[in-house]
């Protein structure tokens, strides 16, 4: 009885299974497991605020042949693009990618060349591991500092009026003492309906540094489901940021395990949504060892009938003394129908810790608005200014200045378009 109610979008699950190629071994088992477990309904606590039921409305078809798709522009955060991997409809496009000129000790390749590790933790991860055949791999050898940011670009494309599903896998492995910057782009056309089910596995070695940024600007009919799992070793620095602008429904689920002392984790994000969009940012920061710091700032603006979800959990394990955890979540509601659901959660089993979180929701401050209007600034310009300033507090968390400026420009473009 309960199992039944805990599942949703059964029609979609059936379509996925019917369309899947014949699979054997671990992949076959994975698909069978997915078919049985189904997708979580809102009765499952972790999915309480995000409803996948709408997936049922999609009519799935095979993904188009990527080679036949014309790509007009490849998004980049950089003035002069560096190394990058480009995927169209989930398939690797070597002709659009740039993997030359990489220093020794850096591996940047499509995943097809590598064996896909089987990981099954939750239905979407299981689905990805069963069906993913393509994806991106970045490995940086110990002590190596990669100067130019690496860009991973995912461009959507569909065939005819059928919706497509792809399951890219991203593997990032930064060895001890190494440093790299990764920028993910997820873009698509508004007319296309598709489901991008992404899994990323990230490891950051001892004293290594990874700057990991993601811009999600999928088409407005897209479903973007991302699951990022990060393992951090002693003294590692992990600086990650997600900007959610697109998709009909986007869920960015990120789990980071701080499995060593002296780690600094900066897990932040922003979103700007309107229409019927849903933006869900769900994070878990798991302090498994003492003397670590985590910091999280997630802010967003909600317009139209859009709905935002933030679920941020900080766990401090029994041995993780001297933990310093900070979390801030703020939402700005711009319209009558806008909605925010926020669940900042602390689970603490150690006593010598400093943990705090704050969450607010409200509209634009009338006093601030009045101040600007009194100085002759038109209402709309004042709004853009205030919203920009509001989002800036989150964007400031991005360490890389070039990427910060690019993300800011994208957020401003969103505001200007309204």
């Amino acid at each position: 009885m309960r199992d039944e109610q805990n599942q949703t979008a059964k029609g979609f699950v059936e379509q996925v299974v019917a369309l899947a190629p014949a699979l054997s071994g671990a992949r076959g088992e994975g698909l069978a497991r997915f078919a049985k477990a189904g997708l979580p309904s809102t009765r499952v606590e972790a999915w309480k605020f995000t409803n996948l039921r709408g997936l049922d409305k999609l009519t799935l078809g095979p993904a188009p042949d990527a080679a036949a798709v014309t790509v007009d522009a490849i998004p980049t955060a950089l003035e002069t693009p560096g190394p990058r991997l480009v995927f169209v409809a989930g398939q690797y496009r070597a002709d659009l990618s740039r993997v030359d000129d990489l220093p020794d000790g850096v591996v940047l390749s499509s995943l097809a060349a590598e064996a896909t590790p089987m990981l099954g933790d939750g239905p979407l991860r299981t689905l990805n591991s069963a069906l993913s055949s393509q994806g991106a791999v970045l490995r940086v050898a110990a002590g190596l500092k990669l100067a130019s940011p690496v860009e991973l670009v995912f461009i959507a494309a569909t065939a005819g009026d059928k919706a497509a599903l792809w399951n890219p896998r991203i593997v990032i492995d930064i060895a001890d003492g190494a440093e790299a910057t990764v920028v993910e782009h997820h873009v698509g056309a508004n007319a296309d309906a598709y489901v991008s089910n992404i899994v990323a596995d990230v490891t950051v070695g001892i004293a290594a540094r990874l700057h990991h940024y993601k811009l999600q600007a999928e088409g407005l009919d897209a479903w973007h489901l991302a699951n990022v799992s990060t393992h951090l070793a002693q003294d590692a620095v992990y600086d990650t940021f997600v900007l959610n602008l697109g998709a009909r429904l986007a869920r960015h689920e990120a789990r980071q395990v701080l499995d060593g002392t002296g780690i600094e984790a900066r897990v932040s994000g922003a979103y700007a949504i309107t229409g019927n969009q849903v933006s869900d940012i769900t994070t878990l920061i798991d302090h498994a060892k003492p003397h670590c710091t985590s910091r999280e700032v997630v802010k967003g603006v909600i317009d139209g009938s859009a709905r935002a979800v933030f679920q941020g959990k900080i766990i401090v394990r029994p041995d993780a003394q001297k933990t310093d955890g900070y979390q801030l979540n703020r939402a700005l509601l711009l319209s009558e129908q806008a909605e925010i659901n926020s669940k900042p959660e602390l689970e603490i089993y150690a006593d010598d810790v400093k943990c705090s979180h704050g969450a607010t929701a409200g509209e634009l401050d009338e006093d601030q608005m009045f101040y600007l209007r009194a100085r002759g600034i038109p209402r709309n310009a004042a709004r853009v200014l205030l919203i920009g300033a509001f989002l800036d507090e989150a964007l400031e968390e991005i360490i890389n200045e070039t990427v910060r400026a690019y993300f800011r420009a994208r957020a401003e473009a969103w505001m200007g378009a309204r």
Partner: protein, 493 residues
Amino acid sequence: MAATEQTIEQVKNLAEGKYKYGFFTDIESETAPKGLSEDIVRFISAKKGEPEWLLEWRLKAYRHWLTMEEPDWAKLHYPPIDYQDSYYYSAPKTTAGPKSLDEVDPELLKTYEKLGIPLKEQAILAGVEGAGDSPSIAVDAVFDSVSVATTFKKKLEEKGIVFCSISEAVKTHPDLVRQYLGTVVPYSDNYFATLNCAVFTDGSFVYIPKGVRCPMELSTYFRINAKNTGQFERTLIIADEGSYVSYLEGCTAPQRDENQLHAAVVELVALDDATIKYSTVQNWYPGDENGKGGIYNFVTKRAACRGRNSKVSWTQVETGSAITWKYPSCILQGDNSVGEFYSVAITNNMQQADTGTKMIHIGKNTRSTIISKGISAGKAQNTYRGLVRILPKAQNARNFTQCDSLLIGDKCGAHTVPYIESRNRTARVEHEATTAKISEDQLFYCRQRGLKEEDAVGLIVNGFCKEVLKELPMEFAVEAQKLVAISLEGSVG
């Protein structure tokens, strides 16, 4: 005041270490057979001479309960409860029903004396017979399940206030009970509340008429006595237009090894311009340091602010019970209505508490404040779980939430699980939570001035809880402060 002194004395005794309330009064109980069935529900209803509609309501609840599953979402761990291994009715043997204190079993009065309820003394001091007008506390003493003595009735009657046991109210004010019972917490609400609907034995009923300010604090002392008796209290308070009432609830229980189940339901209804202040000090037996024994406390408390400008304020000091599962809530339906929740929850040794509140903003300009202080020591787990929900019509709603946790020792846990749901842009919702341990500096400061470590901890924790304790009525404040310190005994050093 003598009552206060007696409370201090009583708490002092407590401070000496052992749980002094662990005595057992031997009164002939008239007990229903063990277990739960439709027959038991009928037995309870018949025993209390209830009208047909109430029996039907109980049966409806019981049948619904059978289809429900025990909730498992709380951060609580306990062995499965065998609902058939409990007695659902046990009444102290009384004659036709006492009309004055003299008719009450002297054994009972002795019990209250040990408990520190100065029932007799108060009757003389404030004059049940009409001597003196000084306001004091009216006590509706609940001994096991049946309310046996109610003081101050006459004085309250003059004002038109009804303060009696709910079973009495069913007989004397059936229309009021029928109109409001189950309207705030419906029979199908949740597993424990539904169980309560089926088998509730007694509780308090309060009705404050229009425009009346209740001249004294109303108080119920709960007491769990007979062996293996789950206690199912049901309280209903109705504050009519423009009225005010402050209600105190305090609990102690005898020491015993079996876990005792307690599933109470409290319903508050505030109409236009009415205010209800509901204060609780809960210090039931928490079990020993190994987690043996202790009360299981699954309580559903909810207030409906139905009228314009109505206000409900919950204040709770939770120090007892092995398990606390309790979320006093406010449904802010009337425009400009106000909900408040002030809570101190202390867990020590093996205690577990999962407590918080729900503020549902429906009306315009509704406001809510949540201040929660959780203190966890020993191997205890303390969770704040709260919901603030702003519905689309709640223009200019306002919420402020502050949840602070204090950890004492490295084996305990403190958790915060707030849900914030806003569907109105003009609403402003703010939530803040912090977790920290007792500051070494503060401890050092106190120790340096000659305070024992334990006293220093008590002092610091009291300071930490001050925002909540100051909300308690005078009568409770002193006891609560002592309790805070006592509850943490053995947690340091």
